[in-house]
Symmetry: C2
Subunit: 127 residues, 2 copies
């Protein structure tokens, strides 16, 4: 399916590229895990399956977080921001969210200090 | 200044529009407050002043959060994501982050249920 041919979800304002911004937050630790994008189809798949889905701009395809790594995101709640162009996935994150092995993609400060926790070895997870 | 004529900040990957995505999170309550964008200048102003700055795509200008409302964001830490195209402002948020009067812009679920806390009366804050 293309980015736009699913039923419109109420209150959501997709951009000219058919995408909106998604922030994923761990519902328990409250860590902000990652920022990515979603198409209407990705939002629908997330609702239907209870697993975090996104749209990859670089690969130009819908993807389920954890499909290859097993590090799925079980959705506890999806929230929408005031102007409807960003959503918040509150998730139970299996493993770690970041492909580098950290719990969160935001594992460094602006000055380069590593403040995040490494929770898995990426060489053991990704071929 | 234009979006691009300041000194490049290490590790940051600005998009073709000269912007990256910013997530603001309350450092104490851990609520995700808002999603917006920043230019290199906005990041520099944030570093220099210790107050959250952004770039408004609709008004095409740099802005300081709270400049009119007084609801400034005192920066505790700025984090960068793995690929450098999103940053996380960890802030001490005065008042509320959302122009609607809620603490967070993410005050509703995808089904429209209001789950956020209203912390100020927007009619009393904005003219």
């Amino acid at each position: 399916m293309s980015r736009t041919d699913s039923v419109a979800t109420p209150d959501l304002e997709f951009g000219p590229d058919g995408l909106l911004t998604v922030v994923a937050q761990d519902a328990e630790t409250r860590e902000v895990l990652m920022v990515a994008h979603a198409s209407a189809d990705a939002i629908e798949r997330t609702r239907e399956t209870g697993l975090g889905h996104y749209y990859s701009r670089s690969r130009d395809e819908l993807w389920q977080k954890g499909q290859s790594s097993g590090h799925v995101q079980r959705i506890e709640e999806v929230r929408v921001d005031c102007d409807g162009d960003a959503v918040l996935y509150l998730v139970d994150q299996a493993g770690g969210a970041c492909h580098t092995g950290f719990e969160s993609c935001f594992y460094r400060t602006l000055d380069g200090e590593v403040v995040g926790e490494r929770v898995f070895d990426p060489d053991a997870v990704y071929e």
